[in-house]
C-alpha cells in the first residue's frame, strides 16, 4: 500500500469542505425539510424577573394550521429537568427548565412553544398567547445579588452565590505584607455575546414506528447532546441520534445543551411529526449563552527587583439566571481564577472564584473561557509593577517566568506545565522585533511628539484538555477521550469516522491529512465523516481547542495498527 507518498501533515492542502460550501450545498440545520415538518416558534419573556400568573393559549390554538402549543408543565411531564451538576461541592445545583415553570428569570427566557404549518403562522400564534406576568424585583448585578435584602433566584440553592471555590498556596497575606511593592487593580469585563453568523436552531424527528429520535442541531457537541437527551427523555441511547453536519460558527456558544433542543424533541415526540425551530437574530442574542461578565480584583506583591512574592485575587462572575449543562455556572469564574497566575512562578497565591446568579441570560463558554480576562488582569498587574519599579516590561516577565529547569511545574491552581519554553519564546520575540531598536525608535518618536506604543504580554494556550484537568468546573463529562473508526473497503478506499464535529475548523481536511499519512493512501481515497452520533464511535464534540489534538493527535492510533494489519 502507498509507499513514498508525500506527507500531507504540514503540506498545503486545499480544504475539502470548500466545494460544497462555496456552491450552496452545505448541510446546515435549516437546509433540511423532511415531509410533514412543522415549524416552531417560542414566546419569550419580556420581563427580567416575574411570576407567571396565567397563560391563555386558546386564541393561538384556534388559529388554523397551529398543531400544538406547549407550556412549561407539558415539558416537565415529558422530560426530566436539566440540572448541571459538578463534582465540586462548592458548586450548587439548580434546575434549568426548557420552558419557564411559574417564574421567568431573564428577558428572552422561553415561556411557550408553538408548532404550526409555517414559521409565519407559528409567530402569529405566539402573538395570540396571553400571559399575565407579575413582575418581581430584578437582580441586576452581582452586588445586588449578594445583598441579603435581594430576592434569591433559585430557592433550592438558598442563595444567589452558586459557585464559591478557592485555590491557595502558602501564606499570601504574610507575603504581601512584607512585599516591597503591592500593585492593586479592579478589572471589569463587560458581558459579551458570541454572535455566530448562523443562529441556533434544531430539527427533531421522532419516528413512532421505530421509537427513534433524530435531532439535527446547530451543536458543537452532538455526542454530549445525545447523552443528556437520552437521560432527560428517558430513551435508550441507541434510539437517539444527534446530527450536526455543517454548523455556521460556534465559538463555544453552541457547546452547551439548550432549552430549545429539549422542547423541540418533546414536541416532535408528542406530535409524531418532524418539528424545526430556527432562532431569529433577536432570540439568538437574547437566549444564546453570554460570556466573560466578571470582575477581577487582584493584588500582586513583588520584591524590589520585581520578583513575584504572591498574588491575591477574587473573581466575581455574573453567571446570569441559570447554570448551563454540562459546564455549570462555574466554568467562567473557575477558569479565570485558575489561569490568573499565568506562566509565572507563584510562591504564594489565594484565588477566590465566585459565580453569582442575576436576572440575565446564562453565562457560558466563549473563546478561551476565562483566559482572556485572566491574561488581561495578570499582564496588567505585571506592567504596573514594572512601571512602578522602573523595570523593562520584558525584563520583569523574564525574571518571573517558570524557568526551563522548573518543569514540570505545578501552578497554585493545579495546572501542571510539563515542558514549555516561556523564557525562550520571549527572548526570541524580542530578537524578532529588535526590541532595543524599537524602544529607541519609540524614544525618538516621543521627542518628535508622536506616541508610539509597544505592548508586552504573555499567554499560554492550553489545548486538548485531558480527563482530570483540575481547573475544570467538575462537570460529568469525559473531556479527555475521543475515538475513531477507520474502515477499509475492498477497493482500498478509506472511510474515517469521528465523534468530534466541525463548525468551521476544517476537520474534514485536517483529519483526512492525518489518516492519509498514517494509512499510507492518497487523500482522495479518504472520506471523513463527523458530527453524527449514529455513525461515529462514542465522543462528545468540539470545544476547548481539543478536536485535532484528541481526534487526530498522538492519542489517535487506530490507523497505524489497522493499516499494518491489513497490509
Amino acid at each position: 500500500m502507498g509507499v513514498n507518498l508525500p506527507r500531507l501533515v504540514g503540506a498545503r492542502v486545499a480544504r475539502r469542505e470548500d466545494p460544497r460550501l462555496l456552491t450552496g450545498q452545505g448541510s446546515y440545520v435549516d437546509d433540511h425539510r423532511p415531509a410533514r415538518m412543522l415549524y416552531a416558534a417560542f414566546l419569550r419573556s419580556p420581563h427580567a424577573h416575574a411570576r407567571i400568573a396565567r397563560i391563555d393559549t386558546s386564541a393561538a390554538l384556534a388559529l388554523p394550521g397551529v398543531a400544538a402549543v406547549l407550556l412549561g408543565e407539558d415539558i416537565a411531564r415529558a422530560a426530566k429537568p436539566v440540572r448541571a451538576q459538578s463534582k465540586t461541592p462548592s458548586v450548587k445545583t439548580t434546575s434549568f427548565p426548557p420552558l419557564a415553570l411559574g417564574t421567568v428569570r431573564h428577558v428572552g427566557e422561553a415561556v411557550a412553544m408553538v408548532a404550526a404549518e409555517s414559521r409565519y403562522l407559528a409567530e402569529d400564534a405566539v402573538e395570540r398567547i396571553v400571559v399575565d406576568y407579575e413582575p418581581l424585583p430584578v437582580v441586576r448585578n452581582t452586588d445586588e445579588a449578594l445583598d441579603p435584602a435581594s430576592p434569591v433566584l433559585h430557592e433550592e440553592a438558598g442563595t444567589n452565590l452558586l459557585v464559591a471555590r478557592e485555590f491557595a498556596r502558602g501564606d499570601v497575606d504574610t507575603a504581601l505584607a512584607g512585599a516591597a511593592l503591592v500593585v492593586r487593580e479592579r478589572f471589569r469585563f463587560h458581558r459579551h455575546t458570541p454572535v455566530c453568523m448562523e443562529n441556533r436552531g434544531c430539527l427533531a424527528d421522532y419516528a413512532t414506528g421505530t421509537q427513534t429520535l433524530t435531532l439535527r442541531s446547530s451543536a458543537q457537541c452532538p455526542g454530549l447532546v445525545r447523552d443528556i437527551l437520552t437521560d432527560l427523555l428517558g430513551m435508550p441511547e441507541h434510539q437517539v441520534r444527534v446530527v450536526a453536519t455543517d454548523v455556521g460558527g460556534g465559538f463555544g456558544a453552541k457547546a452547551s445543551l439548550y432549552p430549545e433542543e429539549i422542547a423541540t424533541s418533546v414536541m416532535a415526540r408528542r406530535l409524531g411529526r418532524p418539528v424545526k425551530w430556527i432562532g431569529d437574530r433577536r432570540e439568538d442574542l437574547l437566549s444564546t449563552t453570554h460570556a466573560w461578565d466578571e470582575t477581577v480584583e487582584a493584588e500582586l506583591g513583588v520584591s524590589r527587583d520585581g520578583t513575584i512574592v504572591g498574588l491575591r485575587a477574587q473573581v466575581t462572575a455574573d453567571i446570569g439566571a441559570y447554570s448551563i449543562y454540562p459546564w455549570t455556572a462555574a466554568i467562567e469564574p473557575v477558569q479565570t481564577i485558575s489561569f490568573l497566575p499565568g506562566p509565572y512562578r507563584m510562591p504564594t497565591y489565594r484565588g477566590r472564584a465566585r459565580g453569582v446568579a442575576t436576572n440575565k441570560a446564562p453565562l457560558g463558554p466563549y473563546r478561551g473561557v476565562g483566559r482572556p480576562p485572566a491574561v488581561f488582569a495578570i499582564e496588567g498587574l505585571m506592567d504596573r509593577a514594572a512601571r512602578r519599579l522602573g523595570i523593562d516590561p520584558t525584563e520583569i516577565r523574564l525574571r518571573n517566568f517558570i524557568r526551563d529547569e522548573d518543569f514540570p511545574y505545578k501552578s497554585p491552581s493545579g495546572i501542571v506545565w510539563d515542558k514549555s519554553s516561556f523564557t525562550g519564546s520571549l527572548v526570541r520575540a524580542r530578537e524578532a522585533l529588535d526590541y532595543k531598536a524599537t524602544r529607541e525608535e519609540q524614544a525618538r518618536a516621543r521627542t518628535a511628539g508622536r506616541w508610539l506604543g509597544i505592548g508586552v504580554a504573555s499567554y499560554v494556550e492550553l489545548t486538548g484538555i485531558g480527563s482530570a484537568i483540575p481547573v475544570s468546573p467538575g462537570m460529568p463529562v469525559s473531556t479527555g477521550t475521543e475515538a475513531s473508526t477507520i474502515r477499509f473497503d475492498p477497493a482500498g478506499k478509506v472511510t474515517a469516522v469521528f465523534g468530534v464535529a466541525s463548525h468551521g475548523q476544517g476537520l474534514e481536511t485536517t483529519l483526512a491529512q492525518i489518516v492519509a499519512d498514517e494509512v499510507g493512501v492518497p487523500i482522495e481515497d479518504v472520506r471523513v465523516l463527523h458530527g453524527d452520533t449514529e455513525v461515529s464511535p462514542y465522543g462528545t464534540g468540539t470545544y476547548a481547542s481539543r478536536s485535532l489534538v484528541l481526534a487526530g493527535g498522538p492519542p489517535f492510533s487506530p490507523a497505524g495498527p489497522s493499516a499494518r494489519r491489513c497490509c
Binding site: 462555496l22 456552491t23 435549516d30 425539510r33 455566530c196 448562523e198 460558527g249 463548525h503 468551521g504
Partner: protein
C-alpha cells in the same frame, strides 16, 4: 389571513412560478419554495448580508425584500455561479486563499464580491474592504476574503 398570490421569477436562468402569502420574504421563498438553500438567513434585517443575491444584475438582500417584489425579476443565487460543473473563478479564489471557514456567510460574500467586481473591475484593497463591508464574517478575520477578491479581480476583468 391574506390572499395567496402568484409570483413568477427567473432564478439562475430557470423560470419559476410559485404561490405564497404577500408577506413572504424573498429569502424564505428562495429557500423553502424553490429549495435553493444556499442563500442563508443570518439576521433578517439587512445587516449581516448572508442572504445577498443578484437581483436584476445588482446585489440585493433577499431578507428585506418580499417575494412579490421579485415578480418578473431575474435572480442569481450562489447555486447559479458554477460554470459547466466547475467552480466560478471567484469561488476558486475563495478556496485558494482560505476565504471561508464555517461557510455560512460565504454565499452572501460571493454575491457581494461579484457585484463589487462588476462595478469596479480593479479595486484597491481599501475598496475591496469597503465593498465587502456589507457582509459580516465571524470566522476568517476577512484577510483571506480580501486576498481572494483581489486575486479574482484580474481573472474576471480579462473575461469581460
Amino acid at each position: 389571513m391574506a390572499d395567496i398570490v402568484t409570483v413568477r421569477m427567473t432564478v439562475n436562468g430557470v423560470v419559476h412560478e410559485g404561490r405564497c402569502e404577500p408577506r413572504k420574504l424573498l429569502v424564505d421563498f428562495i429557500r423553502e419554495d424553490l429549495g435553493l438553500t444556499g442563500t442563508h438567513v443570518g439576521c433578517e434585517h439587512g445587516i449581516c448580508g448572508a442572504c445577498t443575491i443578484m437581483f436584476n444584475g445588482e446585489a440585493a438582500r433577499s431578507c428585506i425584500m418580499l417575494a412579490v417584489q421579485a415578480d418578473g425579476a431575474e435572480l442569481v443565487t450562489v447555486e447559479g455561479l458554477m460554470r459547466d460543473g466547475k467552480l466560478h473563478p471567484l469561488q476558486e479564489a475563495f478556496r485558494d486563499h482560505h476565504g471561508l471557514q464555517c461557510g455560512f456567510c460565504t454565499p452572501g460574500m460571493l454575491m457581494t464580491a461579484l457585484d463589487l467586481l462588476r462595478t469596479n473591475p480593479s479595486p484597491s484593497e481599501r475598496e475591496i474592504r469597503e465593498g465587502i463591508s456589507a457582509v459580516l464574517c465571524r470566522c476568517t478575520g476577512y484577510q483571506g476574503i480580501v486576498n481572494a477578491v483581489r486575486a479574482a479581480a484580474p481573472i474576471l476583468a480579462s473575461e469581460r
